[in-house]
């Protein structure tokens, strides 16, 4: 239970701590969560389900308040807590780090995310899902870059429509069940194809917007660009994982009867996203936008892989989710480091940073390599499994998604080389500070450990992925 309480508590604590120790308190708070999550992981039996809270009395709105975690949830919780800590660490030297509302929002976001990963009740999941929107939105609103309003309206409309659609689906399910939104009773419901399709459509729209899947993506690059660094990181590293997690946890097991109907729609949209995102990223001038489109491309691959019902694909999707989070934090941090020091981040106006800041050049390169999935990084394991499964499902789609391997290099190298190499410029560029190095180092360690020994993660998630698979397969027969 402390998994949930600590973030909530610290979101309140942040409001009252004095300004001079605010950022260190926040960091400690995040660290406590990391420690708790790691303890959970150490004590975790791979094929078990740890129930944290359960109330079978359906007192309020037929909710069962079931909270708990299996391997998949635990992996996401670990990810959330680590990334939250890293975000605070990355942000440590910015002015916002001492702002009380800022810290509160980060913890509130963490609370909502953990809640959504712990929820084994659909209504609960929805509440946390919606709750997560508020802090990230306010953060962008309060701390974002100028002319963000129009962008945020777009963002809001998209996600609002998506959430409404999901809410509709949830209520529709409510009419089918005898009285509970509990996970296990929901997945047992037999539906005919039409019902299943109606139900899954709502979820699909909500998830597609949040990931985002082509063509629901146009809110994403602008919102990423205009949000403050921490907001962008929360959005890309964590919030979209909620959608991907939702696909595995809710969409597929809930209405597997509809799966054959939407499988290729999703895969092809995802495939278009992979190629489209990568191609658009090639010519963007704003570093953050390059990385935003790269994110669309990477997430597309994960989404496509999730539509293949094999353990390899699911495992690939999970490890790629983690890799994507690490890479997103790293890349957006790199963009922000340039922005912090120079006040700009347009590729065309940069160059020669490597000579001034060799440490930065080194760590940025590691993250860059992880994002193009070089072996020894977790990205490789993920992409290999995903591309393999997509290819074996439909060869031509696999080849098209595989172009990600090539196009990814083009935009990452372009972004890296044109900013870091070239003419030694006259500007002053201080090399990394301790907190920045620490952030990059932790990211890199996770990336490399999972790249060399992915079984560490797979041991944790495999049983839960297998049970999800068997739920899907049992009911679709």
């Amino acid at each position: 239970m402390e998994l949930l309480i600590i973030p909530l508590a610290f979101s309140l604590v942040s409001l009252v701590t004095p300004k001079n120790i605010r950022k260190i308190v926040a960091l400690i708070g995040a660290l406590i969560s990391v420690v708790i999550a790691i303890t959970c992981w150490v004590n975790f039996q791979p094929d078990s389900f740890v129930e944290l809270f359960s109330n079978e009395q359906h007192t309020f709105f037929r909710m069962s308040y079931r909270l708990g975690y299996d391997g998949l949830s635990l992996a996401m919780i670990l990810l959330t807590n680590i990334v939250t800590f890293l975000i605070l660490l990355a942000n440590y030297e910015k002015n916002t780090a001492s702002n009380k509302m800022f810290n509160t929002m980060v913890f509130l976001m963490q609370f909502a995310l953990i809640g959504s990963f712990l929820s084994f009740d659909l209504i609960l999941f929805y509440i946390f899902w919606e709750l997560a929107l508020i802090p990230v939105f306010l953060m962008a609103f309060w701390f974002g870059e100028k002319d963000r309003k129009k962008v945020l309206i777009t963002f809001f409309i998209y996600t609002f429509v998506g959430s409404l659609a999901m809410l509709f689906s949830i209520f529709y399910i409510g009419t089918l069940t005898s009285g509970s939104y509990d996970y296990h009773s929901l997945v047992d419901i037999q539906m005919n194809t039409k019902t299943a399709l109606t139900v899954s459509l709502g979820f699909l729209i909500a998830f597609a917007v949040k990931m985002p899947l082509f063509p629901f993506h146009t809110w994403q690059p602008e919102t990423y660009t205009k949000s403050p660094m921490a907001g962008t990181m929360l959005l890309s590293a964590l919030m979209l994982k909620m959608a991907l997690y939702g696909v595995l946890r809710w969409l597929l097991p809930l209405a597997p009867e509809a799966y054959p109907l939407f499988k290729y729609t999703v895969i092809i949209l995802a495939m278009i996203g992979v190629v489209y995102g990568a191609i658009v990223a090639i010519k963007q001038d704003d570093l953050k936008k390059v990385f935003a489109y790269a994110s669309i491309s990477h997430v597309g691959l994960i989404a496509a892989g999730m539509m293949i019902l094999t353990i390899d694909a699911f495992a690939g999707a999970v490890i790629q989710m983690i890799n994507h989070a690490m890479v997103a934090v790293g890349l957006f941090l790199a963009a922000d480091i340039i922005d912090r020091r120079l006040g700009r981040r347009d590729i065309s106006s940069l160059g020669g940073i490597a000579v001034r800041a060799p440490k930065f050049a080194f760590w940025f390169a590691i993250i860059g390599f992880a994002s193009i999935s070089i072996p020894f990084t977790s990205g490789f394991i993920g992409e290999f499994l995903l591309i393999k499964e997509v290819f074996l499902d439909k060869a031509w789609i696999g080849i098209l998604v595989g172009t990600n391997l090539i196009l990814g290099c083009v935009y990452i190298f372009r972004a890296y080389q044109l900013t870091m190499f070239g003419k030694e410029s006259s500007f002053n560029f201080n090399d990394l500070t301790v907190s920045e190095i620490a952030t990059f180092a932790i990211l890199s360690v996770i990336i490399v450990v999972l790249g060399v020994y992915p079984q560490l993660l797979f041991d944790m998630v495999k049983p839960s992925l297998e049970s999800i698979l068997s739920i899907i397969k049992d009911s679709s027969i």
Partner: protein, 639 residues
């Protein structure tokens, strides 16, 4: 220690070297950095020798399981058979010499420690590549060497004028290799799906055992995809244009990575997969003809290049093409033989070129050189020996390995043989041209530079001499059985045949008389070319024209047959155009327009109902929360 215990050590040493130099190297003196790096390459060489003499049966050393998902089981494990150990010997042996050379060549460079860190990392990756026991491990090494190659090509990224160009060359090489890598991904997916494993021995046993094989179509797809991967790394048409650009890196790197070792990775992959290739003769033909065309095209381009390293780069592409011809002919052991001799003489040529460039104070254009034979004697002699070896001068190492390929090609088809003969004639032609223009005639750069020309220090010339000896006598590793009988002949062939999967049968050699004729033809070709080059470039002293003066075929050759321009026009420009068009039309105009339209409607209605709406964005949040509460209340009432 047993072999399976020694194997991980081979990898450990270069890794430790890289870690030491990478972390504290900045504070160490050059001598120590260089010695550590050299030692960490030399020790694996010695260990490999130990293993080499002990090894009978293949040995597998499983380190740990990287992925176990039930059906998918991937081990991190090493595999020693004569092929992998032979490759290890080449990599670490030539690697050690080049490390020693680099201590002299790179001395005074700002990034000295970085250079040796990369070199050791390269050795580490290359050893993973050759020693891995499965395709999965191979890919780790494959990309690892790619990254090192990228880093080293762009090594001079901080250069005032060329910096960005150098790093772009690195990027080009990486991206082109990635095209091939996609092929590998697909091949691996197919192998996994059809064999259930990526282990060489599992796949090999199934193929050679002949039970429950996948269809020929599937295997063809696998071998074709593998070959696409190989064309990237081993610079074959259509993915070869990165290699000449890769010469932007320091010259020892060109010698080690872009001539002797990394670029042979594709060949290693093909030889490893021989059991798959043997099943798909059509794909073998594809390999043969791609190799043949590459060999000729690259040799043609090399004829009118005037940068000393560019000539050698195209020569490498051409030689690799020749080796692919051998693979296409099913002569896998001969391919490895030529890989070996090529590693000797091409490494020597590059190091010699490095010594020349060193002496010239960084100048690479052969137009400015000339008459260097008396000024830098050791470099001159060794370079001459290497030139003779690559041209196939009788009794030099290249003579044996090349003629082995030509002989087998003759058995396959006379057409292929003639094409190969033309290619090797061109090889002799551009090599003698290079040699005479650089070392004979009169010095053509300023007096200042001439005054400065000096022989390289001993740590650079000793590796040259050792490689020169190997280039001359390298033929003994696989002497033809035509005049000699007994154990001396076909040593490498027998060696690889004993314990390497699938390498125990051989393509037919031509009969005795034919072989004699072919030998005679080969010798005549070299001698005629040598005679002609001597007249043109030494006696008449013809020096290369300015680029603008070339016309006809010379221009075509000088301009690299416009491959780069064609790729730019056909691939790069369209994608860039598409990128801009997608962003402007789809993202901004269409989808963005629709959403903006909705947003406008919302804010318009916001005007209308301004009284109860704040108009601020967080007002919407408020209403959303209200809405959720409303929904919940509604349902509560309904219950």
């Amino acid at each position: 220690m047993a072999i399976y215990q020694l194997l991980p050590l081979l990898l450990l040493f270069p890794l430790i070297g890289a870690l030491i130099n990478g972390t504290i190297g900045k504070r160490l003196p050059e001598k120590i950095i260089g010695s550590i790096a050299t030692l960490m390459t030399a020790i694996p060489f010695i260990l490999a020798l130990v293993i080499f003499f002990q090894l009978d049966e293949p040995v597998k050393s499983i380190l740990f399981t990287a992925i176990d998902l039930g059906t998918l089981h991937l081990d991190v494990s090493l595999y020693a058979d004569n092929l992998s150990i032979w490759m290890t010997l080449i990599v670490t042996g030539v690697g050690t010499l080049i490390h020693i050379y680099s201590i002299g060549y790179m001395s005074g460079d700002k990034g000295f420690y970085k250079f040796f860190t990369y070199l050791n990392l390269f050795i580490f990756s290359m050893l993973i590549l050759v020693l891995g026991s499965n395709y999965f491990m191979l890919y780790f090494g494959w990309e690892g060497v790619g990254v090192c190659s990228y880093l080293l090509i762009g090594y001079y990224y901080a250069d005032e004028n060329e910096g960005l160009m150098n790093s772009k060359a690195g990027r080009k090489s990486f991206i082109m290799n990635r095209v091939g890598d996609l092929g590998l991904f697909i091949a691996f997916a197919l192998i996994l799906a059809n064999f259930g494993s990526l282990e060489y021995d599992v796949v090999g046993m199934k193929m050679l055992g002949g039970e429950a094989l996948p269809s020929v179509f599937i295997v063809s797809m696998i071998t074709l995809s593998l070959f696409i991967g190989a064309t990237g790394k081993s610079a074959q048409i259509p993915l070869f244009t990165w290699l000449p650009d890769a010469m932007a890196g320091p010259t020892p790197v060109s010698a080690l990575i872009h001539a002797a070792t990394m670029v042979t990775a594709g060949i290693f992959l093909m030889v490893r997969s021989n059991f798959l290739l043997e099943f798909t003769p059509e794909i073998k033909d594809v390999i043969l003809y791609v190799g043949l065309i590459t060999s000729i095209v690259a040799a043609f381009i090399a004829m009118r290049q005037n940068d000393i390293k560019k000539v050698l780069a195209y020569s490498t592409v051409s030689q690799l093409g020749l080796i692919f011809v051998a693979i296409g002919l099913g002569a896998y052991t001969v391919a490895i033989f030529h890989v070996t001799t090529h590693a000797f003489f091409k490494a020597l040529l590059f190091l010699g070129a490095g010594s020349v460039i060193h002496a010239m104070g960084g100048e690479q254009s052969i137009r400015k050189m000339g008459g260097l034979k008396d000024k830098i004697k050791i470099t001159h002699i060794t370079f001459l020996l290497a030139t003779l070896a690559i041209s196939g001068f009788p009794l030099f190492s290249g003579f044996f390995s090349k003629d082995e390929i030509l002989g087998i090609a003759f058995e396959k088809s006379v057409g292929v043989y003639i094409a190969l003969a033309i290619s090797s004639a061109m090889t002799a032609l551009y090599m003698f041209r290079l040699y005479f223009v650089v070392f004979h005639g009169s010095f053509r750069d300023t007096k200042d530079v001439e005054h400065h020309v000096h022989e390289s220090p001993l740590n650079m010339t000793v590796p040259l001499m050792i490689l020169a000896v190997l280039s001359v006598i390298g033929g003994i590793f696989d002497l033809p059985g035509i005049f000699l009988k007994g154990n001396f002949t076909h040593y490498l062939d027998k060696l690889l045949g004993t314990n390497v999967l699938g390498l125990d049968h051989h393509p037919a050699h031509p009969e005795f008389n034919t072989t004699l004729v072919l030998l005679a033809v080969a010798i005549i070709i070299v001698l005629v070319v040598l005679f002609l080059s001597n007249i043109i470039y030494r006696k008449k002293g013809v020096i290369p024209k300015a680029d603008e003066q070339y016309t006809g075929w010379e221009k075509l050759s000088n301009k690299n047959m416009y491959w780069d321009e064609a790729y730019d026009l056909l691939i790069v420009k369209p994608i860039e155009g598409l990128s801009k068009a997608f962003y402007a039309v789809i993202d901004t105009l269409i989808i963005g327009g629709i959403v903006q339209g909705i947003a406008k409607t919302v804010s318009l209605s916001g005007d209308v109902v301004r009284k109860w709406q704040s108009g601020k964005v967080n007002g919407y949040i408020f209403w959303m929360v209200c809405g959720i509460i409303g929904f919940i209340t509604f349902f509560l009432i309904k219950i």
